[in-house]
């Protein structure tokens, strides 16, 4: 499979929605005795990745598969993450779930794992081009959803601004592009600024302050993650514009929910990391059991606002049910 085309998780044709997996491939087959799974995360300093780990753990507990979940020491520690992944391969885990720092930094794992006959599932965010299996949401869709909210709820249009994640990171590029393209196509909106926030609250606060100072008539911000969005919220409040400026984040961390409920953050695009983790491990275990799955298993996401926050923030099963309903309804 060296001739596998480089993966683009957003556009790959060989895909299946998470809600269809059981219908198409049946229940999870019986696993070989002693199956254990290793997972490598990007960082644990962001709630999103910790929640993903909770998902792995929850599903692992459910089916009796131990999961180790390790993370690099900091976001951006590319070689450290590679070291971790290599350690997991040598230690004989049966399947690997990896969320790479970058598109390339875990590439050697693909070969080592192949040699050791260990399937690798690329979970979310950065995309290893050689990945045979990917579980995650459509990054671009994040931005598109927020753009659609603006088009629907701000029919008169206006000025909007984007605060981007780290320069050059796939998720940031895709989300930004999705938002920018969609909102520009509507013709009524103007993206007056698209500046780097480096995934950092303070940087985003400062950037938002400056943008608001220059464009007091701004109607909305879109941020590539929730931490940045929460920084922007503070800047908007400090400028006294909380009633005029809508702020959207991405990820759906608990702080974002709290802020939405408090009426501060307008909304976030939740990509349901816990559920994603469950789906990813299930996918991985199906591969261990020998099933042939499509290359991409798409996981859900939803635009959360004050109106629907409760629907998506209940116990795991309730959310799963809600998302299954969404999937059935086709959004």
């Amino acid at each position: 499979s060296a001739d596998l085309a480089p993966l683009n998780s957003d556009t790959e044709k060989d895909r299946i929605d998470w809600s269809q997996v059981e219908a198409k491939f049946g229940a999870l087959p019986k696993l070989p005795q002693g199956t254990k799974a290793g997972a490598v995360s990007k960082t644990l300093t962001n709630e999103y990745w910790r929640s993903l780990g909770e998902g792995y753990k929850a599903f692992g507990d459910k089916v009796g598969v131990p999961v180790v979940y390790q993370a690099a020491q900091s976001e951006g520690d590319q070689l450290g993450q590679l070291t971790i992944a290599e350690g997991l391969v040598t230690q004989g885990y049966n399947v690997l779930l990896v969320s790479p720092q970058t598109d390339a930094n875990l590439q050697p794992i693909m070969e080592q794992a192949k040699a050791a006959n260990v399937p690798v599932v690329n979970v979310n965010d950065a995309v290893i081009p050689q990945a045979e299996h990917y579980v995650g949401n459509v990054q671009r869709d994040n931005g598109v959803r927020v753009a659609k909210w603006f088009i629907k709820n701000r029919p008169n249009g206006g000025k909007v601004a984007i605060v981007e994640g780290q320069a050059g990171v796939y998720a940031a590029v895709q989300r930004t592009d999705g938002f920018k393209t969609t909102i520009s196509e509507s013709g009524k909106f103007e993206v007056v600024a698209s500046v780097p926030g480096n995934w950092d609250r303070q940087t985003s606060y400062d950037a938002a302050t400056n943008i608001l100072q220059q464009h007091p008539d701004l109607i909305g911000f879109y941020a590539n993650n929730d931490g940045m969005a929460l920084g922007i919220v503070e800047a908007v409040k400090a400028a006294g514009l909380q009633d005029k400026v809508a702020v959207f984040g991405t990820d759906g961390i608990s702080d974002a929910y709290a802020s939405i409920r408090a009426g501060e953050l307008t909304g976030t695009v939740d990509s349901f990391p816990v559920l994603t983790g469950e789906v990813a491990l299930e996918t991985a275990l199906r591969l261990v059991a020998g099933q042939k799955l499509p290359r991409v298993v798409a996981t859900p996401q939803a635009l959360i606002t004050k109106d629907n926050a409760d629907r998506y923030s209940g116990a795991g099963d309730a959310v799963r049910k809600a998302l299954l309903e969404d999937a059935a309804a086709g959004n």
Partner: protein, 322 residues
């Protein structure tokens, strides 16, 4: 004796504001003029205040960094020190501990972090760079472990008002940092400790022989740096309403850049409070201007790099072979 009084004013002035500082000032003016010409509204009062506010945290750290650098050291651990101080103080606030106590605890953490750095440098005799590289990881890890990686939210609004208010139209943070700068200036120029710092960084052996308390001087420098990191943390927490364990990432680089642009020599024995403040404002003005110009992120990064180099070049040219 009679001409002393005549010479006095100029000497006194030059002492406070050296040629080197003038070079930094020219750098700042050039940057302001360029952005002023390119960005409409750059000189709006509101925006100038924004620049000051956005520079205040870095300026606060950079002042502490300047003292450490003058003593011949460096403090890479300011960001994690700030984070550790912030999360502990914030969780006390959330738990209902009275403000003064919680803030004092935050400051105490900053001092303690500085003390550890200082002890390792001064008594154990390790290299400052590597000591604070080690504590950079250590303090960050402690902050993460303490919070489990989660931000501390739900701070009382009345607390936030302390560091987030305004006075005479100026943000309180700016006023606080200006006050710190004045104190730092006085400490450096007027007190024995200031002399000791310059002596320890300038010629440690000579300072030792002269009876300067080397270890105490170095430790004090690191403790001040830790304290100011804690202060910066309070300001930031007041502004953002949340204390994150990952707060202060890469702060050390900005602080060092501000100090160096302002004329501090990483070889020790040299540095200026006025210069450091100007250096911090240069960096702040640059970020502000680039954002207002909506420069794309790659090009912003490029501009950041080039402006640091340009600021150093301008400075180099204006002060000649110094």
């Amino acid at each position: 004796m009679s001409d002393t009084t005549l010479v006095q004013p100029r000497t006194e002035f030059l002492r406070g504001f050296s040629m080197r500082d003038a070079g930094t000032l020219i750098g700042l003016v050039v940057i302001l003029v360029v952005f002023g010409a390119l960005v409409p509204g750059f000189f709006a009062e509101r925006n100038l205040i924004n620049i000051l506010q956005q520079s205040s945290i870095n300026a606060c750290l950079a002042l502490g960094m300047t003292l450490v650098i003058i003593s011949g050291g460096i403090d890479l651990s300011v960001g994690p020190t700030a984070a550790l101080s912030a999360v502990i103080s914030a969780s006390m606030l959330v738990a209902g501990v009275p403000f003064p106590l919680a803030i004092a605890a935050g400051f105490a953490i900053g001092l303690a972090c500085g003390l550890v750095n200082g002890l390792l440098v001064a008594y154990v005799g390790l290299q400052p760079f590597i000591v604070t590289l080690g504590t950079l990881s250590t303090y960050r890890a402690l902050a993460l472990i303490y919070t489990g990686g989660n931000p501390v939210l739900g701070l009382p609004t009345s607390f936030r008002a302390i560091f987030n208010g305004s006075l005479f139209g100026l943000p309180l943070a700016v006023i606080i940092v200006a006050g710190v700068a004045v104190i730092a200036w006085i400490v450096l120029k007027k007190t024995p400790f200031g002399e000791y710092l310059l002596a320890v960084g300038g010629n440690e052996e000579a300072a030792y022989i002269a009876g300067v308390p080397i270890a105490r001087t170095k430790i004090a420098a690191y403790m001040i740096s830790g304290l100011l990191a804690a202060l910066a943390a309070q300001i930031l927490v007041g502004r953002l309403g949340a204390a994150e364990p990952i707060l202060g990432n890469l702060w050390e680089l900005d602080a060092i850049a501000a100090a160096a642009i302002g004329g501090a020599s990483l070889m020790g024995g040299k540095g200026s409070v006025v210069g450091t403040i100007l250096g911090a404002v240069i960096l702040g003005a640059m970020r502000n201007g680039l954002t207002l110009m909506n420069v794309q992120s790659f090009y912003q990064l490029l501009a950041t790099g080039l402006i640091i180099l340009a600021a150093m070049l301008i400075d180099r040219v204006t002060r000649g072979r110094g």
